[in-house]
Amino acid sequence: MADDLTGSAAPGEVAAPPPVRPAKGATAKRRNLSLGNIAGKYGLLIFFGAVLIGFSLARPHTFPTGENAESILTLAAPSLIMAVGLTVVLVMQDFDLSFGAMIGLAGGAVTTFIVTDHMGFALAIILVLLMGAAAGLLSGFMVSYLGGNSFIITLAMGTVLTGVEFALTKQATIYSGFPPTFLKIAQGTFLGLNNQIWIAFVIAVLMWALLDRTELGRYMYAIGGNQEAARLSGIRVKAFRVIGFILVGVAAAVVGILLISLSSSYSPNGGASYLLPAFAAVFLGAAVFRPGEFNVPGTVVGVLFLGVIQTGLVMLNFETYVINLVQGGILIAAVLISRLGAAKA
């Protein structure tokens, strides 16, 4: 899968075309295949493989099973949706810290619309997705057009969004009143797999296509690479940065809706715990395939890796604090490894 996803966008993997103007005979043809390069690009994948084997050996009857794989994928699906959305803004060197709050608001809003206002759930979902887009538009506008620092603007926006959530739900916890079809969204299955896995898969493929295959994606990487050069090349820098925030807002809305549908209940501020894992996965992803560059295939690996670690450690009966230590440690290691990759370039 990995090879398909990175395609020809990764320089080192391209079957080198005949040298156009050889710099100096044989040296020009020298391929980019040193041990360090392989370690930089695939180190995380290799480590991932080792971890899978380790867990499988430790729990041969419970870990390497189809059932467990589906459980890990289902658990990882919301994180994956959030992380691939986040990848888009990070590619443009912007930050969004408001999506945790947006997940909470989306959950609160969809609950209120359906349970309290007796709205049709399809309409409720559309409205909530629009809310996500609107929140992203607002953050993006303040960052891109008004020049606010994305870190602090989205941090503040997060507080605002949580305020809106509490205003809508009065911070009540709600356990009932959801129509069964709504609950089917996250609880139902398709071709034997939980619907969330399919939704996450489709969104990940769309985001990969957007970033790695479309003009817009190329422009987004250009903005991240050198904003002024991109502007002088005629790229609509401001508008595209706003699009990034809108995508994160919509991704957060999707996750918020899925969480309600999955748990059949709403409790206030349920999205905050998604903030760090999403960032962790994206930064882990920047340590694989294209070292130093945020990329969707890498993000997918990052999410799956974190999911496997979490499930595996739970199966080995480690306590929660160990899981925290390991996950935090892995994130730090990944960020530093991706820095090494970038420094070598």
Partner: protein, 512 residues
């Protein structure tokens, strides 16, 4: 630390440095004697910048050794280079714009403090002033760096070396975008340093400077030394032959001729940028090579940016083919058919992490759509990029390599390449030959001339008046934000241009 009177003898032997697809140094040798100014020549990608980076401890060589005063020395980091008494003024400015001049001059040397913690600003300014005074630059140590011109910032970088009592000084293209008087200045300073015993490595593409300033020279070609000797023992033709690796006749260029009765392509009326450009009006004809001369800080870059739409604060009227166009952003400029190759290629020109291909196709990506969908065909992109690499003789074996790996001159060509097939009518080149070797310069001239031959309007901004005279049929001169002179025809002399840049005695500008 020993004073500057004790210079160093620097010797590099058999340096090898490989990058993906490029052998940057191929057993390169270099010797710089104490108390001498040593010129380092070579075309783009010959390995000059790489050898300097090795000396600066920025990169480590794969093979080879460096000796300082006969002792084999490892330069692990820029800090180690500084500790050896090395000072560097790199081609690209390596200063910190948000600090003051004095803070930059003493950067890394330890700021004077009271009680070990509080920076003593007055003492710092005094120490910086000592170094700046030797450059006679008249730069206020307390001024923020951003208030300085590029030329002044170069001098600040040099002052940093002076403040560090450097015993080995490396200047990479120090005179790029410096005016003649500033160059003379630098010349005096460097010769004084040399006479004090300091070793100086002087990298330049300007042969006249090499002859005027250096005692010995090394010529590099394809990552290795091909000549080493006294400057006095070699002549210009021989030097060019060594640099290019082949015999090229030194011929005088003939400026491009605008076809008679060519219609007006672009007209600027009353362009003003607060603080830098004052009410400038001019015309550009189809098929014209228009030169724009002036001293650094005369407002040329600002005027060009205003016309292209890169500067929001600009006002005035732009007419393309007689029709007023509204240009408020670079996008508007491009839509009106104007492209700009910015002066500052590192920060504005290209995206260094992008591959050569991606840089080249960035402004015209929509041309590579597959059946109308905004999904670029990478196969066609690659083909277009390979064609451009061949057309511009860019030294890279694979268009998928990051632009970062290319030498400065080749990076400049990549930036240039991306506009060539954009279909624009007006091409603005702001210092396109800065830091490019002789051969590369000639190629850039030919490209610009070819564009003019196709009927495009070309504006060529340069601080090297020779190249304007050799290529342009008309040259405008700016001084202090205003257009102060216009010279027509083939017989423009450099003295006339220089005169116009400095004084009010230039020909009055013909009303147009």
């Amino acid at each position: 630390m020993a004073g500057p009177e004790k210079g160093l003898r620097i010797e590099a032997r058999g340096l090898v440095k490989r990058y993906p697809g490029v052998l940057a140094l191929d057993h390169a040798d270099l010797t710089v004697e104490a108390g001498s100014i040593h010129g380092l020549l070579g075309k783009n990608g010959a390995g000059k910048s790489t050898i300097i980076k090795v000396l600066a401890g920025v990169i480590q060589p794969d093979e080879g050794e460096i000796t300082v005063d006969g002792e084999v020395t490892q330069i692990h980091s820029p800090h180690a280079a500084g500790a050896l008494g090395f000072a560097f003024a790199h081609q690209e400015l390596t200063d910190v714009p948000n600090l003051t001049v004095a803070e930059n001059v003493l950067l890394g040397l330890g700021y004077p403090t009271a009680g070990g913690a509080f920076v003593r600003n007055r003492e710092m300014r005094r120490r910086a002033a000592v170094a700046l005074d030797r450059l006679e630059a008249g730069i206020d140590p307390g001024a923020p760096l951003t208030s300085l011109s590029i030329a002044e910032r170069r001098l600040v970088v040099i002052a940093r070396g002076l403040a560090a009592d450097a015993r080995f000084f490396v200047l990479d293209e120090p005179t790029a975008s410096l005016t003649d008087s500033e160059i003379e200045h630098l010349d005096r300073v460097l010769k004084t340093l040399r006479d004090e015993g300091v070793a100086i490595l002087y990298v330049s593409h300007r042969l006249d400077e090499i002859f005027a300033m250096t005692d010995t020279v090394t010529v590099m070609l394809d990552g290795a030394e091909v000549h080493h000797g006294k400057t006095a023992d070699i002549d210009k033709a021989k030097l060019i032959e060594l640099i290019t690796g082949s015999v090229i006749a030194v011929e005088k260029r003939v400026p491009h001729q605008t076809p008679p009765a060519a219609p007006t392509l672009l007209e600027a009326r009353g362009v003003t940028v607060p603080g830098t450009v004052e009410n400038v009006s001019f015309e550009l004809k189809e098929g014209e090579m228009l030169g724009l001369a002036g001293l650094v800080g005369a407002g040329r870059t600002e005027l060009m940016r205003a016309i292209f739409g890169a500067d929001r604060a600009a006002s005035g009227e732009i007419l393309m083919k007689g029709k007023a166009v509204r240009i408020k952003s670079p996008r508007d400029g491009l839509n009106a058919g104007i492209v700009l190759l910015p002066e500052d290629r590192k920060n504005q020109g290209g995206i260094l992490d992008f591959s050569v291909r991606k840089n080249m196709t960035l402004p015209s990506l929509s041309k590579f759509r597959r059946g109308g969908a905004p999904i670029p065909s990478q196969r066609r992109e690659r083909k277009a990029a390979r064609d451009l690499v061949e057309r511009l003789h860019i030294k890279v074996s694979d268009v998928e390599y990051p632009t970062r790996f290319l030498s400065g001159g080749n990076q400049q060509k990549v930036v240039l390449a991306k506009w060539l097939d954009s279909g624009a009518d007006v091409f603005i080149f702001d210092e396109p030959t800065q830091g490019i070797d002789v051969e590369g310069k000639e190629e850039v001239y030919q490209l610009m001339t070819a564009l003019a031959d196709e009927g495009k309007g070309v504006i060529f901004v340069s601080s090297e008046f020779n190249e304007l005279i050799g290529t342009c049929s008309r040259i405008l001169v700016m001084r202090e934000g205003e257009l102060v002179g216009q010279f027509d025809g083939v017989d423009i002399s450099e003295e006339e241009l220089v005169g116009a840049c400095y004084s009010h005695e230039a020909e009055p500008l013909a009303a147009s």
